[in-house]
Subunit: 214 residues, 2 copies
């Protein structure tokens, strides 16, 4: 039975998982959940998914939640091609790069956070944009320094094949571009991004290529 | 050579790693970095750590960053006692619970986020507290539902021994208590918390027990 991915075309966490599935060549059925319409909070969705978040991956009887945990699950159940290196220090480096995006940038800039700023803190578009760009500049600055100063960076974030860190990076750059963030200060990062989006696995996972786009 | 942990007594991400080190019985040297004084941004710290964040774990030549990546590294290099179950679905469940805290609650409530709210969005104590409690209530609601509705919950988040999810939960509850969040709606979660803090490994990791406390 094919895996089923609960997804939303613009969710960058879902985008990470779509890339990982494509890199591993795993066929899946896309089940769109419209976040802007609040479908993730409806009982129909919540009764299967206690976290009420997207993405979620259905694999037979299992429902796997949280994008990072889903990618690790795919790595353990479908090891080839690997998205993590084999040595413990290399694996830690790739996870740390991934978590820099998943824990230091994305949560501050996702839909429900921006909604709170607008609704409860009275922020207009300018305030939202300044907030958004602040966390992107701060987080990608740390990301760029990590790529520049720690061993392992090559064509991709770690070595010459795309992996878990690249699955996290690319959706974050798409978001940053949507919010017109200045990406000129991050040349190594953007070089990796360019090499990723030249690949079919990344292109097929892009928001514009999803069945629920528009 | 003993491992060295760059830590700050109140950092909940450092607290997670201190618990994991204690659970695995790994001796380490604590190297305090005073976050309120901004020591994490000083060149002396940044030259070793391109992310400029706490915690960081020095293991011989390696510097491991990001609390989740550090715990996975400890799990791979010091497998006993395990902090993750052996089956892929169970491992995914524990990681998803951990990431629910690390990605959906903590980033919104950490020091630099609250600083931005105060400095750039003009929030006073009341505004900060409302923000803080909102994300705790939302995130712990999802956590409680996950413990209630998915198989695996026992004395601890997953089974009858403490693991990675418990390492994430306990520091988050300490923070929630500091901000006087209402924890009554989360009885299963608080039951697990109570069983964790009865253990020496958790107690020794508490903020008040750290060399840099006060």
């Amino acid at each position: 039975m094919a895996m089923k991915l609960y997804t939303y075309f613009r969710s960058s966490a879902a985008f990470r998982v779509r890339i990982a599935l494509n890199l591993k060549g795993i066929a899946y059925e896309a089940a769109p959940v419209h976040l802007l319409k609040g479908e993730q909070n409806e009982p129909r969705y919540m009764q299967h998914n206690p976290q009420g978040l997207v993405p979620a991956l259905e694999d037979g009887e299992q429902l796997i939640l949280q994008s990072g945990a889903i990618i690790e699950y795919l790595e353990e159940t479908h090891p080839a091609p690997p998205l993590l290196p084999t040595d413990a220090a290399g694996r830690a480096r790739v996870r740390a790069l991934s978590q820099l995006i998943a824990c230091e940038i994305h949560p501050l800039n996702n839909l429900r956070t921006l909604k709170y700023l607008r609704k409860h803190l009275g922020q207009d578009d300018d305030g939202i944009n300044a907030w958004y760009r602040h966390w992107v500049a701060d987080g990608l600055g740390k990301f760029e320094r990590s790529l520049a100063e720690t061993a392992g960076t090559a064509a991709f974030c770690h070595g010459d094949a795309p992996g878990m860190a690249d699955c996290h990076l690319v959706p974050q750059i798409f978001n940053a571009q949507r919010y017109q963030c200045d990406l000129a200060p991050f040349p190594i990062t953007m070089g990796v991004f360019g090499r990723c989006v030249a690949l079919e696995a990344f292109r097929k996972a892009e928001p514009s290529q999803q069945p629920d786009a528009n």
